[in-house]
């Protein structure tokens, strides 16, 4: 069996979870969620092109509680993926790799995407 004399890498249960890991996972999760959302975007456009009756049927589905929750979820996914995507572009340019920078930009992305989502739904121009 295992040789206990060998050094072990940090065990997952004692490894402090860094916030950057959450963002990395969320980037992929929101991306996949929006890939599914593309089907709804297409349905929205098709129903709009089909006429007012079809469009109102689509709107009624999305106005139901489940539809509203999905739309709020997709709007957060959009703002989050947008902000974190820009964070990735800075990394691609070789900037912001220091640990304190990555942590700071992580919290910045979380806050901006939450504020943008809230503003999108609550602020009327």
């Amino acid at each position: 069996m295992s040789n206990t004399e060998r050094p072990l890498s940090p065990h997952l249960s004692i490894y402090r979870w860094p916030v950057t890991m959450t963002l990395s996972i969320l980037h992929r999760a929101t991306g996949v969620a929006m890939a599914v959302g593309l089907l709804v975007l297409a349905a929205w456009l098709v129903s709009a092109a089909a006429g007012e009756a079809e469009y109102e049927r689509f709107r009624a589905v999305m106005a139901a509680p489940v539809g509203q929750i999905l739309l709020i979820g997709w709007s957060f996914a959009f703002f989050y993926h947008l902000c974190n995507g820009i964070r990735h572009l800075f990394w691609d340019a070789g900037k912001g790799f220091e640990k304190h920078q990555a942590n700071a930009s992580a919290w910045f992305v979380i806050i901006v995407s939450l504020v943008a989502t809230a503003a999108f739904w609550m602020v009327q121009l």
């Binding site: 709009a48 092109a49 995507g85 820009i86």
Partner: protein, 126 residues
């Protein structure tokens, strides 16, 4: 002894000479979507309750018809590249992986063409 030529056995295993295309495509479409996405989110917000008349009038304006078509094209491309990486990471059975990749590509192209067709129908007033 096989009918396969030595060349046939190695083709596809080495450099395809387009190794960075995927990476660049993801970035270029990402940058385009920062702009198109913000424009779309701002426009949706401005349209308020999204009533049929207001939405079709918005989509029907020439610049919006073009920008929305570009958005659908670019987002389908970006999504296809992203979903491809996810499939390659998690689906290990070779047959299922290839099938998933092909299906994903079909769906993405279909959704892009469907969306743009609907936009043009509104834009051209059909």
């Amino acid at each position: 002894m096989s009918l396969r030529a030595p060349l046939g056995r190695v083709l596809g295993l080495g450099s395809a000479r387009d190794g960075t295309d995927h990476w660049w495509g993801q970035r270029v479409s990402g940058v385009a979507l920062v702009l198109l996405g913000l424009w779309f989110a701002g426009s949706l917000h401005g349209l308020g309750p999204l009533e049929h008349g207001a939405v079709t009038m918005f989509i029907g304006m020439p610049l919006n018809t073009v920008l929305l078509s570009l958005l659908c094209l670019t987002v389908a491309w970006h999504s296809w590249l992203g979903v491809q990486v996810v499939i390659e990471d998690y689906v290990h059975a070779q047959g299922l992986k290839i099938a998933s990749l092909v299906l994903s590509r079909f769906v993405h192209v279909f959704v892009a063409v469907l969306s743009i067709y609907a936009i043009l129908r509104i834009g051209l007033g059909a």
